[in-house]
Symmetry: C2
Subunit: 424 residues, 2 copies
Amino acid sequence: MTLLKSWVESANSPETQFPLNNLPYGVFVTADDEAHCCVAIGDMVLDLAVLEDDGVISVTDEPVFDLPFLNEFMDAGKPAWDALRARLIDLLSADGDDTLRGDKELQSVAMAPRVDAAMEMPFVVAEYTDFYAGMQHAKNMGSILRGSPDLPANWLHIPIGYNGRASSVVVSGTEIRRPLGQTKAPDAEVPSFGPSKRLDIELELGAVVGTGSTLGQPVSVAQADEMIFGYVLLNDWSARDIQGWEYQPLGPFQGKAFGTTISPWVVTAAALEPFRTATPPREKELLPYLNEEKPGLYDISLSVTMQPEGADRATTLTQTNYSRMYYSAAQQLCHHSIGGCAMNSGDLLGSGTISGPDPSEFGSLLELSWAGKKPFTLDTGETRSFIEDGDTLTLKGEARGDGYKIGFGECAGKILPALETPFK
Amino acid sequence: MTLLKSWVESANSPETQFPLNNLPYGVFVTADDEAHCCVAIGDMVLDLAVLEDDGVISVTDEPVFDLPFLNEFMDAGKPAWDALRARLIDLLSADGDDTLRGDKELQSVAMAPRVDAAMEMPFVVAEYTDFYAGMQHAKNMGSILRGSPDLPANWLHIPIGYNGRASSVVVSGTEIRRPLGQTKAPDAEVPSFGPSKRLDIELELGAVVGTGSTLGQPVSVAQADEMIFGYVLLNDWSARDIQGWEYQPLGPFQGKAFGTTISPWVVTAAALEPFRTATPPREKELLPYLNEEKPGLYDISLSVTMQPEGADRATTLTQTNYSRMYYSAAQQLCHHSIGGCAMNSGDLLGSGTISGPDPSEFGSLLELSWAGKKPFTLDTGETRSFIEDGDTLTLKGEARGDGYKIGFGECAGKILPALETPFK
């Protein structure tokens, strides 16, 4: 796949994350202070509500883009997504339909510089599920927490996941308050209360469910693949000390509920199609319902940087790839429904922390600092084992094609100090 | 507290679950096939949308009751709940305001026999959290699953909970499909796929969050208490064999996601106020943020019956009381927010399985049959360890006052056979 040429010149730069091949969806605040659905193209955002209102594009009988969320469009289903993508490529390509290309006035109301666009949450998160599908991460967690890299007995058979908290999912740029909570040191008799001292990130990709399923009716891996609208970068902020004390026997709870940051852009499965890659060889045979019919992962390079408050530059902490995962989002979504659980438009599935085999590819600070035993040094000369107040953590991701790349924007959050008293 | 007399005669019977003291909220289907919010009074339902449209009652500038959910009303907050309760008591009492009492025509459009009323989900479940706050249940689970009744190390310090799946919550009467899934027998080398063979209930009470909180700002136990709109009966259907294989290390997932049934009536915290009772003495001192300022539990008698397909009667399996719980819903809600997790109107918090110390008070079949080692006999002569296809399980609950009682209706579900093939 090569670059699709656009008349929007900035979309043709090999440096842009938003060539015509990408066309990720988001929600931005217009000059009139309304929230509309949009796509990114080069240095611009294209207001889909304006095009829809003008009759240049159409999805259903009712408008779906003059809303502060993509859910109505997502719920319209894959044929509608494919049709709109084809229409937008035609409208934005260098030699396609000239309805927008030839109309400077329409351009002036429908397009705005991306640098000025305040981005909001792209969709209403129906429910949020976080998986644990990275093998290196699972082995590292075993080594650090339980003294052995052995995988849990079910790990090679089940895409292990737990239900997270949708109300804590926020868009990139939202500041995250360091959580208060219960922790207990191994040698302490009783737990104590206070700010988390082991604040961490988890580098993940989030799959966005576009169309839902019915209670009592599972969906296959192939059906699940068609239900996924797209992907976002996802940072599953984690308070390791709170999590460590609370998670037995029913799993993570408050250690994961104070914030989960996603990128403002949902990169569609259609845009990622050329980057499909198969899951790694199975170490144990899967039960047939989980077999994938086509490659379920994508070749997406991912990185994390950390920038302390006042520092003039960010330090790259890790660089890895989504193709490291053992289970695909389609396999996870199939398993999520296998008992009959209804899935809905706007459900968000976190991939699980993405760590490669080399320490430079670890996707959490817990792994990078080996639970604080090996603090790492930033380019500013400071050292870290976990996140300190004022630190900004930023995830980036891109799929690299022939002369172009497809990006997610960034997924960034700065940590605010904990509240001094818990209650108002 | 004694019976409040109503001009609706059936509401004065000592046998009704719905005296004037109760006034639980629900959503019913009108003769015009619309879904409206309502209250139950004796043998009747009172259509709140009709009263609101006529100006007899008013909550906010916009109508809140001509909707298929209570969330708008719940979100109006405690002063609005209290004001409407006072107004409804005035309108329905034997010697109060005669606007409804004296207007047969209004009665004919605003009231319908409860026996004819098809009830729908009373509110949109924002997110669903299930707790584990029953001590006897936790001890029984420890004995059955781990060979020791010792509580998990954190249990006496934290109201342990996990995020459940809101999309699987259904109203009483909805049939539940036996789930398919992965299970592994202790002596098997690999897991197998098929219908759950250990299908179970969990007898719980659900707290319905009326007003929300902000991300990053915890709420105290006292604030949490004022945020709770009311309570429902809740059956957290559980597939023990699926749960047993999947739940380590991240908690229950598909074993709990195929159905959670609630009663159609939300009994308000205001109606339950006379039945408040304190949590049991602490076995270990709580961290101060979890201390309750006023009694947080309620004296509510609860029972479960089982009726096989075609049987002419149901067998009572268990009788217990909500006051058996170790943590109150207000304590759970406070803990849920303590790291900054935002809570929303419509959040549903399951209490955890309610089991008393005597086997006749156990709140799940796993406990009643001691994991199948002690099958129990039904009044029909059949025996059971777990649920068989066609069985109907029904939860009931009532708080007993002086000459009256306050009930929840019933929380019932029948089990359908598993799908023969998983996918369509």
